[in-house]
């Protein structure tokens, strides 16, 4: 492997990490409030609001049922409007975030439901209002599950960022497609796949460690 290839791969790693973490952070900025709203407005939520819940639920299901590759193409005009171009790693973050937010909302809602209802009731009996329950009870008590969800989401987005390579999204997936598929350069494809596996492993292991350490319920 010559120097050029190595530089290209390093840039690929950088772009992949940029897309993955960029989209996970922006995805949570959008998905976390959505998840909180979903939980609060739900049937057994803090403040049931059937209409809001149903609308939110429907939007989430629609977006989630569109295959990512199709979403990527569907969103091209929107992406162009937002970042000025439809290819490259920054542009890829747009569909990644749109894809991730509803997924994150579900994961967050699910984590909140795992919190013992007795604990929420105790907080309520002590005079806490709904926002205090969200900030001081739910986010704290659900943190292990929230962190596990965060790790899983990051892994999913890493995979999707690679998938965006097929439409010139940049990063390791892009390299794998351009060299491995279009130019029959199997070596480079194998190397990029190995790099993706290594990155995934690191994300998963670090995530698992952090969420385990956050768990005060068991040793």
């Amino acid at each position: 492997m010559n120097e050029q290839v190595i530089i290209m791969l390093l840039e690929g790693i950088r772009d992949t990490l940029y897309m993955t973490f960029g989209s996970v952070i922006l995805g949570y900025a959008l998905g976390l409030p959505m998840g909180i709203l979903l939980y609060m407005s739900g049937e057994d939520g803090l403040k049931p609001k059937p209409v809001i819940y149903r609308i939110l639920d429907l939007i989430i299901n629609i977006v989630r049922s569109i295959p990512f590759l199709i979403l990527l193409i569907l969103l091209i005009p929107f992406t162009r409007l937002l970042v000025g171009q439809s290819y490259g790693s920054t542009a890829t973050i747009v569909p990644l975030v749109i894809c991730a937010a509803p997924y994150i909302a579900r994961v967050v809602d699910n984590s909140f439901h795992e919190v013992d209802e007795g604990v929420i009731e105790a907080a309520r009996a002590m005079g806490a209002d709904n926002w205090q329950i969200v900030w001081k009870v739910l986010l704290v008590e659900a943190r292990t599950s929230l962190l596990t969800g965060f790790t899983i989401t990051t892994g999913v987005l890493l995979g999707y960022s690679a998938m965006s390579g097929t439409v010139g999204g940049g990063g390791l997936g892009d390299i794998a497609v351009r060299y491995g598929y279009y130019r029959w350069d199997t070596d480079i494809m194998v190397v990029t796949v190995i790099l993706l596996i290594v990155i995934f492993q690191i994300i998963q292991n670090v995530g698992t460690k952090i969420s385990q350490q956050s768990d005060k319920r068991k040793r």
């Binding site: 013992d116 007795g118 604990v119 009731e121 105790a122 907080a123 309520r124 009996a125 002590m126 005079g127 806490a128 209002d129 205090q132 001081k136 009870v137 704290v140 008590e141 943190r143 292990t144 956050s214 768990d215 005060k216 319920r217 068991k218």
Partner: protein
Amino acid sequence: MEEILTVKKISKKYEDVDVFSDLSLSVKKGEKVVIVGPSGCGKSTFLRCLNGLETIDEGEILIDGEKLRQDTKEIYHIREKLGMVFQSYDLFPHLSILQNIVLAPVRVQKRDKKEAEAEAMELLERVGLSSKKDNYPRQLSGGQKQRVAIVRALLMHPEILLLDEITAALDPEMVREVLEVVLLLAREGRTMLIVTHEMQFAKAVADRMIFLDEGRIVEEGSPEEFFTHPRTDRLKKFLKSFAYE
């Protein structure tokens, strides 16, 4: 003595079944009222209605002269006057013992953290658990957890303590340590409304006994007459179920 809690003819239904109907009760400041009755008689639901965790269909509840209304922000303020302790302790599993206790005083009542912690430590000391302040709930026994839950309720400076079968989930050898704490509080003149199945304890702590059955107050009186001269057959039968001959 002034009345701190007045319940006027409240009714509650679950679907079409009456949980209780036309229930009235008043509690004076410093009074210890113990409610007993068979399971499903509505006694826990009754306690939960008092701080608005459950809604009532009819009637009204006055706490310290203020009317309890579910639909306003006042409910948060009124709930602070009622300290509730639950059967399942319901401590926050991810918070240390000290954090568990000061959370509501600091966040809800906006009290100074240092001051709240200092008072928390005093109270923990009194229930013999000051050494556990940095432990997490899972590291404590059931009896210890329940004593922490009592301290947590006390730190809110409630006017009334509502104790909902607080020993029902405990191993027998831990019941005493919890009830002794309650007796201690009773002697301090705190107002308490207690739901329990521990008849010996009820006898020791109560100023007034109430027997609730099928959503109605069947019998009410001082512990002496309640336990030694029950008037109704239903209460006689109920008390008998606790005796072994």
